[in-house]
Symmetry: C2
Subunit: 396 residues, 2 copies
Amino acid sequence: MRVFIAGIDGYLGWALAQYLTARGHAVAGADLFLRRQWVEEMGSWSATPVVDIETRLAAFEENFGTRLLFRTGDLCDYEFVETFFKEFQPEAIVHLGEMPSAPYSMQSVKHAAFTMNNNIVSTLNILFAMRDVVPDSHLVKLGTMGEYGTPNIDIPEGFFEIEYRGRKDTLPFPRQAGSWYHQTKVHDSNNVLFACKIWGLRSTDIMQGVVFGTRIDEMGDDERLLSRFDFDESFGTAINRFCAMSVIGHPLTPFGKGNQKRGFLPMRDSMQCLTLAIENPPITSAYRVFNQFEEVYSVNELADKVVKVAQELGLKDAVVRRVENPRKEMEEHYYKPDHQHLFDLGYQPTHDMEAELRIMINDLVRYRDRIEAKRDLLIPEIRWDGTRQKVGFIGR
Amino acid sequence: MRVFIAGIDGYLGWALAQYLTARGHAVAGADLFLRRQWVEEMGSWSATPVVDIETRLAAFEENFGTRLLFRTGDLCDYEFVETFFKEFQPEAIVHLGEMPSAPYSMQSVKHAAFTMNNNIVSTLNILFAMRDVVPDSHLVKLGTMGEYGTPNIDIPEGFFEIEYRGRKDTLPFPRQAGSWYHQTKVHDSNNVLFACKIWGLRSTDIMQGVVFGTRIDEMGDDERLLSRFDFDESFGTAINRFCAMSVIGHPLTPFGKGNQKRGFLPMRDSMQCLTLAIENPPITSAYRVFNQFEEVYSVNELADKVVKVAQELGLKDAVVRRVENPRKEMEEHYYKPDHQHLFDLGYQPTHDMEAELRIMINDLVRYRDRIEAKRDLLIPEIRWDGTRQKVGFIGR
């Protein structure tokens, strides 16, 4: 299948290009290297060294025996998207090309406005180019479980049938996102649903949980094939950050009470799930939603797991110390999201989370110096109230 | 009260400035005259002659004995908004400064992207400037009843308590907007709710129905004080267009079956409702939603009312002829939205719709030549499927 990946130089995009190519798909992609710039703006870098795109592409060709069709370009430039689609004629389009960080978007009005425009307009451009160039293609759009927030009722996959004042309807499940970034994903979901409705497009909207991991098997021993691995407050996910902290003896820092529950999944399962969505498109015009995660844990539970594995690997300084919560969010709440659609397509979760953590931490130990060099960045300072000041440790 | 009006040169903004000033409020406002440009881009003009802003401001001072503090500027320029708020210290902020047309936004990817960015970023800028400059002020944000779409259940005012799988929660009512423009209003609502939640701001989000009318009493006989009155396919509301059509003997053109139901209200009631919201802010941090309309009619019923009044006024050629529907929307549907919150504040609807239509049509007869000159623009051509071709008459 011809698969176009928007944001192919990113954490998930670069891994997905390899995963799909290894399965025989023809992959093309675009990137503007904004993720590299944003992490630099945070004063940070990837724990895994990220080589320049030419070196990445050369390594790709050496390892997979095929060239990746790559273009540098801005998804907010409609002509760029349209031209690429005309040339490549994608059958599936995976949109991973958005600004993906809540804290980054919360820094200032300029960051909030940039995130809104970048994420919404890139998605609009893809939708219009699908309509006008490849109307039979299938959009796999990366959203986030964070779109739903933490309602006091079960979370279905996108839609629910409700009875209200004696009448029934099936409606989009209300979204309650917790950052400007998360809001953009909600706006995208609304826009993608609308485009499917009026133009008969096909789309799968992925509500993804928190992804963790350094690698997938396809990367083998070639360091040039590794995905980037961010651990700064903006671009590192909770678990990736916890693993990075454990290798340099920095306390692992759940926010507030740490009882915030989230869905988690390893990067290899994210690849498996995205590929299931790509290889099993809706047959006719449709907008479907997949909740994509493996298991629900509280942030405290995850931190404890990381400490356990780190200790087993001899990282004796790994401890958990909670910090003030820089966000405004519920720290105790009900959380029961459905995630059946991917199982229906044959999803086989990686059940051994500790084995995955062992691989990650072992990988990160090799890059201990690169993490140590940015130790000062591990305590967050971007606060949801608009101020900027490092949070303090709380409790024991 | 010091009231800032964003979009003060527009249809509602210019009337509201007069309505509030007559009631003793101190009004300031900003505009970039984009509405004038957009209507020009459609090849059209206002039926009522719109004089330049200097003439408008001079007329304002002559009639109301006070100067209007006006600045030309872009709400998408954060510094402009912040500086104005610092200087004026508004107690209430009325945001009418958005691109308000569904067809305009549906024309092309550029128009869709412009509408997204313009509406979302202007609102974000206002929210951030409130947080940083006037955190105790109250935002009255113009949304639209179109945010809700046409669900098969009752529409509450913003939120509803639901039971789902045996548990209960009060959640935002799901939105199903029908154009890119309407989507921006949904995105705004989500963003405003989020800002109120994390920053403790106060806001009233107005889900307004279709407004009609040429004037409010405060305009008196001074033509320079009249609001603009658009009748092109993009910037004319259904009823305003029907009245314009009736005065030049052009058939009134409901789309499709014409059984689409909407909430309607005359401009004078829109002023009354906005003022009730302004003068009765929430006491503490809150995000509240008012559904603002008077009565629900189908488009066919409205057209029939306009024909009846026009005939009584001697406009014997006024007839209804349905046209193909250029939009994708339900033409037969359940529609029962609540609208209690404004009544609770003392809203007194103008019950005599026919009297209002009589005033409008009489006003428009004076500008018959200006409407006649743009007769070709009365049949819409912007279609939701992305094509552009004038719709044809259907049925009898």
